[in-house]
Every structure is written in C-alpha cells, then in structure tokens.
C-alpha cells in the first residue's frame, strides 16, 4: 500500500478570498444528474440534519440514519448557551477576522487557518438561515436579536435561546429535514446504527447498518457517505454527552482507512455539576453563559467549614479574576478547568468531596440586574430584598431552565446559595481527519461536525460547536461535495449484492456473534466504567509520561478481559440495548488506547492537552511550536498498531504567540 500523503487541499490565495474563489470555481453537478446521485448521511444532529436537508433541497437522493428513535433527539439538542456569529450587531468591533483570530488563538494554534477562516465567513449566514426557519432566538423589546459573551472573546457575538439554544437550532434543522422526508427526497432510518463502511475500488460506496428493533443487518448504497456522528467524550464513561453518544461509526471508518487526528485533544468543561457517587451515569453541564453573570471563587482559607453565604467578601478568592484580569471569569475553558483543579488540588475545594468551586450569581443578581430594574421602575434607594427579587426575575429569564436543572439534580436552590461546580468531559476537538472539502482519507467518505477534527485546534471556544456543525452542514458540504460527485455522474447505483457488501455484512455479523457468544460474567456497562476510570485518571485534565504508559498497558489488559469475560444477555434478532452497548464499548476501548498513544507522543502542553512535564513556573501550559505544530493523524495498521502522519500547520495570517488572557 502506498504511503498516505496528507493534502489538506486548502485553496491558494489570500485568506479572505480562498472560499469565495473556491465557491465560484468548484465543479457543479447539473439538476438531472443530482437526481441519480445517492448520499448517505449517518447521524442527524446539527451537522447531519442540516447537511441532509440542504443536499435534498439541491436534488440529491438522501438517506439518513440515527440510533435514536427520532432524528430530533441527537445530542446537539442538549447544547445550552449559544452560537457564535460575526454579525457585529452589538457594534462592539466584531468582524470575520476577529472571530477567525479568536478561534485560532483559543485553539492554542493547532487548527488549520483556511478552514477556520471559512467558518468565520459563513457564521453570519447561519443566523440568517435559522431565523428564516422560525428559530426563536432571544430578542430585545425593539425586536432585534440579543447577544451575550462567551469565553475567550472580548465581544458579544453569541446568539441564544435561553439555556436551550441547541434544542432550538436542532429543531430548526430537524424541521427542514422532516420537510424533505415528507416530500420523499430523504428516507430516514431511525433506531439504526451504522456498523461498517463499505468500500469498492477504494471508494466509500455504502454502509452496513443494524436495525436496532429487529436486529437485522441492512446494506445501503451511496455515491458518498457522510459521517455526522458527534464526538467521543463517552470514552471517559462520565461526560456531559448523552448515554448513547459513541465513536462506533467514526471508528469503523478509521479501521477502513480514514485517519484519526489529534485524538488526545479533549475538552474538559469547567462548569459542570460535580459527581455525587458511584451510581452516577452521566454529568450535567451548567452552561458557560453562566460565567457572564456568575463569579467563580473558593475560600481564601484552606478547608473552610463555613457555608458559602457566611464567608465574607474579603475572605473569598476570585481566582480567575485574580490570575487573568483581562478576561476574568471568561477565560477559555481549558484555562478555567485547570485553574479549578489547581485550587482543589491545593486544598481550597468546597463541598463534601472538596472537589468543587463556587459559581456565585449573587453580586450580579443584586448589583447588575436588581439595580437596573429598580432604576427602570423608578424605585429610589431599593432595599436588599427588592434588589434580590427584581434581579431574580431577570436571571430567571436568561438562565431559568439551567437553575431549575441544577436544583433538580442537587436539591439546592442556586438563587439562594452559590452553585457548586467542577470540570467534566464535554467535547472532543480531535476526530476523523478531513481536508478542506471535509473529505476523509477514504475517497467519497466525508466527516462533519464534532466527529471531524478540523476547526478547534487543541481547545474549542464556547458557542463554536453549534456554529461548526451548522456551517459544515448548511454551507460547506453543499459546495464541496460537488467536487467529488461531479466526477461520479457516470457511476450507476451499485447493487448491494456486490461482493463488497456481502463481505462487509458477513464480517459485521461475525463480530456481533462473537460478542454475544463470549458468555462471560461482566456486563458491557462494567467494562465501560473501568475504561472511563483509567482514561479520567491518566488521560484526563493532567497527563504525564508514566501515567500514559501505564494506561496503555491497562487498556490492553482490559481489552483482553473484555473479549474473554463479557456477558451480553438477550438475543441477536431483536431489540437489545445490551448488545448495542457492547459493540460501542469495544470500540471505545480501542480508541482509548490510541488517545493515550497520541497524548504520549505530544511532548508539549497545548489547549486541553496538559502534560505535567511541560509547564511554566506559574503552571501555565508550555507549547512546543518547533516540534509539535502539526496535526497528528493516525493510520490504523492492525491490532494496537498505528502509524503517525503529520500535517504541518502553517500560519500565514496570524502571528503565533503564547496565549495570553492576562
């Protein structure tokens, strides 16, 4: 096999003209030919639903697949805080360039300039498109759209719908998708899981999917296959991902030749509800938007036993404001997470477990909102109770559902006492390697949204995931897929009786039978928990050579145990969530090993990847641009074997500097 040459295919020319030039020169497919070209879209979150709807509107024949019972339930639905766009509606100096710059810098200079600039360019159109669909974003009394701030920026460019922006955006994309389903231009397969990519003559030509209700394996042909299957945060067992979120589709693609890039770049979100016990099945995010109005602090005194409200102002350490005065509570996520860990490790943590910090709304609730409302109502010298009452109403409107959720989970009322929060796994910047066209190293196989690696470098800024998912689906793939499909117009539909389909289905069936026939003693869930523990302790917020080396050995041992002592009850031919889970855990175990290998290879600290050996005296991350300014793209070569390919990153428009939020 020839060695893979990574070519990002970023168009030539000045950064601001690349995409415009590309759009006007990319080959087109005429309407008659589109009708005979079939596209498979796996996953129906923001990226998948927006891509499927847009491609069907253009005339392509589309099939969509999701493992949930409806496309509307994809985990994009749970995104809370908002979506960025360089609209400059707030007249605060925003521009395409600033969004581009903030994203590259936020990603700690490990993202590709060309892709990120395109993302910033199309961001404004996303908001227009969503509003046209009837997405009810927050508005001012005059009817104009509102914005708020997110971490790592000094402008207000985040559009939102209370604390449920992802829900509203996904329902917009879902309704566009359902419109095409109603017209017959998209066929949707819910409760289906993709279990392999089928390749013919080196090109992706379809998938094997399992009907999760009947257990039947199905073969589906497509001239192109789009993976829009989300991130792999659940490799840690506990994360803010949904229970079903998994890496299986991306992993099967990886084993069919798609390179997997920067797997160790994972995002630990600073503001999540802390773990309460061993029974815990998932972690819940408290939106970054809360850092607009919440101040993060710990007591200045170690092991302070007093209740939060009894600790006077001068005895509180607002450590983010202290360490990073320019950005304060709105530093990027990786920095806020590490700072919280540093305080807790040093003995200043709060709560029963001492692994939490306070996120306190009181001062803004009273001083910012309470006073403003009192002034509006003409109340002179309002007393504290009035200020609290008035402030509470505003806070409720901005974040109401989040406060309710917090109370529901913890039993404490965040209007009365500060929230307790701690970092948790949230997002994965790494993913399937794609070029400027969003095509993987397998021709005809594309990857969109969180599942690819492309835009966020080593750390994603808040409110940029929704932007990227919808950018890829609505505005990028409809153009870039033409460059491939225009050369495929002579390819007739290939029969799924083709031997490649037969072979792939056979291999899939054998793997399922193998899983169910181990008949050991331990459940898929118990293996998942153990994998998560290894990953969190040794490949989590802080990593070092010793821990990673141990983790690799432990994961290999866990894999052996999995394949010899797994117990999957129930039948192959029927609805069997245990079997679904077993297959996903098997893939997570393999991915976990690669993540540790990647983390061990990257001898530097950058973004969400913090290697303890590489830090400055003040504990800030120490990047090594000379040796590691590249995308690490791994090729699968066999069991526990990978080959590293490097895509060197060139910064022609942005001056590389140490990230400084001070």
């Amino acid at each position: 096999m020839a060695t893979i040459k990574l070519d990002a295919k970023v168009p030539e020319g000045p950064i601001g003209e690349k995409w415009t030039k590309y759009k006007s020169s990319v080959p087109l497919v005429n309407p008659a030919n589109k009708r005979s070209l079939e596209i498979i879209v796996v996953g129906t979150g923001l990226a998948g639903a927006s891509a499927a709807a847009s491609l069907a509107e253009m005339g392509y024949k589309v099939k969509t697949f999701c493992f949930q019972d409806s496309p509307r339930r994809a985990h994009s639905i749970a995104a809370q805080g908002g979506i960025n766009a360089a609209k400059n509606y707030q007249n605060d100096g925003d521009s395409t360039y600033r969004l581009f710059y903030d994203t590259i810098k936020g990603g700690d200079y490990r993202a590709r300039e060309g892709n990120v600039h395109r993302l910033a360019e199309v961001s404004a159109s996303i908001i227009d498109q969503c509003v046209a669909q009837g997405v009810p974003f927050a508005r001012d009394y005059g009817g104009m759209l509102r914005n708020r701030s997110f971490g790592g920026t000094q402008v207000q460019r985040t559009f939102y719908a209370a604390g449920q922006t992802g829900q509203q955006l996904l329902l917009g994309a879902y309704s566009a998708l359902e419109r095409q389903i109603g017209k017959g231009s998209v066929i949707n397969y819910s409760r289906h899981e993709m279990l392999d990519v089928v390749k013919i003559d080196g090109k992706a030509r379809g998938i094997i999917a399992r009907n999760l209700i009947t257990g039947e394996l199905e073969r589906h042909f497509g001239h192109a296959v789009l993976l829009c299957t989300g991130g792999y945060g659940n490799v840690f067992y506990l994360s803010t991902n949904a229970m079903g979120s998994n890496v299986t589709a991306a992993w099967k693609a990886h084993k069919q030749g798609a390179l997997f890039a920067n797997p160790c770049f994972t995002q630990i979100h600073p503001t999540c509800i802390p773990v309460s016990g061993d029974h815990q099945s998932k972690l819940t995010l408290m939106s970054e938007s809360l850092r607009n109005d919440g101040r993060i602090w710990v007591p200045k005194q170690k092991d302070d036993k007093r209740a939060a409200n009894d600790i006077p102002e001068e005895e509180r350490d607002y450590y983010l404001e202290r360490r990073y005065p320019a950005f304060g509570n709105l530093v990027p996520r990786d920095i806020a997470s590490r700072a919280a860990k540093e305080r807790c490790d040093a003995g200043y943590g709060v709560g029963v477990t001492k692994m939490a910090v306070y996120l306190d709304f009181k001062s803004n609730l009273i001083n910012k909102y309470g006073r403003a409302e009192a002034t509006k109502l003409g109340i002179e010298n309002p007393d504290l109770d009035t200020l609290i009452r008035l402030g509470k109403e505003v806070v409720k409107e901005e974040y109401g559902n989040l406060f309710d959720m917090y109370k529901q989970i913890t039993g404490e009322d965040p209007y009365e006492v500060p929230m307790m929060i701690y970092p948790a796994v949230h997002y994965t910047m790494g993913g399937v390697w794609v070029d400027y066209n969003l095509m993987t190293t397998v021709p005809g196989l594309y990857c969109l949204g969180e599942a690819n690696f492309s835009d966020h470098g080593a750390n994603r800024l808040g409110a940029s995931a929704l932007m990227q998912g919808l950018s890829d689906g609505y505005f990028v793939i409809p153009y870039t897929i033409g460059s491939y499909l225009s050369a495929e117009i002579k390819t007739k539909s290939i029969s799924t009786d083709h031997e490649a389909f037969v072979e792939a289905e056979k291999a899939t069936r054998e793997r399922i039978e193998k899983l169910i026939n181990i008949k050991g003693k331990q459940s898929p869930e118990s293996f998942h928990k153990r994998l998560g523990k290894i990953m969190w302790e040794k490949c989590g917020m802080a990593r070092n050579e010793k821990g990673l080396t141990e983790a690799i050995a432990e994961i290999q041992a866990l894999k052996k145990e999995f394949w010899s002592d797994l117990r999957v009850l129930g039948e192959i031919d029927g609805f069997n969530p245990e079997l679904d889970k077993a297959g996903r855990v098997a893939d997570f175990i393999e991915l976990g090993e690669l993540m540790c290998i990647d983390a061990l290879n990257r001898n530097e600290s950058c973004g969400g990847h913090f290697r303890e050996e590489y830090q400055e005296d003040g504990g800030e991350a120490m990047r090594d641009d000379e040796n590691f300014m590249y995308v690490a793209a791994w090729e699968h070569k066999g069991e526990s074997q990978w080959e590293l390919h490097k895509e060197e990153l060139k910064y022609e428009n942005i001056k590389i500097a140490q990230r400084n939020y001070k």
Binding site: V131, A176, G182, Q408, K521, S523, R567
Partner: protein
Amino acid sequence: MTINLKVWKQKNAKTSGNLETYKVDQVSPDMSFLEMFDVLNEKLVQENKEPIAFDHDCREGICGMCSMYINGQPHGPLEGVTTCQLHMRTFKDGDTIVVEPWRSAAFPVIKDLVVDRTAFDRIIASGGFVSVNTGNAQDANNLAIGKDKADMAFAAAACIGCGACVAACKNASAMLFVSAKVSQLALLPQGQPERESRALNMVAQMDAEGFGACTNTGACAAECPKEISLDNIARLNREFLGASISSQEA
C-alpha cells in the same frame, strides 16, 4: 433505601405483557430514577436475567427520549420534570412504584418500556416547518419580532416531543404536541405564508395516526415536563377553524 418496583415486561409488539416485581436495595436519594434502573439492570445481568429495556439518552431533560409512566403519571409525580431528572429523594424507603410504558394505540410497544413514537415525526413532516431552502435567508435583523411574540413562540417551541401529553390523555390525543408547533410558527412572521395549510395538514396527519380527540380536560398540560400551556390548544383550534373556513384548498 429499598424500593419495590412493578415493571411492565413485554417481549415485543406481537406478544402481550405483564407486570413483574423487582426489589432494589441500597438506593441513594441522590440517584436519578433511571440510575436506579441502571442498578437494577446490572443486578439482573449478574443473575443472568435479561435487563429491562427502557428509552433514555441525554439524561438532562431535553432530548425527550425517556418515557416512563410512573405510578399513573407520565414522568412521575413532580411538575415540570422528565423521568431522567426525577431523583429518588422524591420517594420514601419501602415505596412500591409501578412503572409502565406510554399507553396509546399510536405508540405501539417495541419492548418492555420502549414505545414507537415515529408518529410524531410524521406529523412534523406533514407541515411543522417553514418552507425555506438553505441559502435563501435575508439578514436576520431585517425581521423585527417583538419580544412578547418571540417569547411566546419560544415557550411553545420548548416542547421536547416526549409524548407525555398523549400518555396523560384519556383519549390519547396529540393536541398539545401539535398545537405547540402550530403556535410557534403561527406567532412568528416567518410562519405566515403556510399558516393555514400547516394547521390543516398537521391535524389531518394526527388523525390519520390514530390519536384520539381532544376534550379539553387539560391533563396533557398538567403532566407536560416542559409545561407547555393549554393556551396553545386554544390557538390551534382557532387556527384550524380559521383555515377550514377560509382555505382555498379543496
């Protein structure tokens, strides 16, 4: 605490089911209702018994996948809370809890507590959208939408499509679900061009799916975990009636 469960077990749509009794020990008050089921299922696996199938995904009350009928109430006893956000501190040591799937002819049981809700997707496909193709939009701020209208549309759009309204209704009517989408789009300028056809088509599809008629008892809104208001049903009735009278369609 110790919790006694009576759970609906049903192999598939073709067989009939029955309630089975389980006992779960060492339930922590901080566990969610579904985490208690995780504990039970793990125990069943250890005993070589097939675990109970139930739908769940985000476990933060937004995806709409969880769907348990708990002691005669969809999503259990708390107001404005989905099953996944219901915590065991709501119950007492020694309680017996009956858990059933959503009951409606339009939501056939797939297995145990899992039902088929694809009827909801087909209702949305019949008209729950604005017909605007990608790339046709004007600048978002060219369309001023008053805050009150925007807020009302948002409140209706908060529906998570879980189907609790149907499960709560003695007629298994889907009016609250349909009215939430019709309201959201009827309140916004973007929804105006298709306002009439949307109401007519979605109601027609709802009827075709076999959901029952609405008799305005309000059980749906009382049980809705997202507290979608009954006002939306009133608005749907107006929209439907208006469209029936004035529609140009045959």
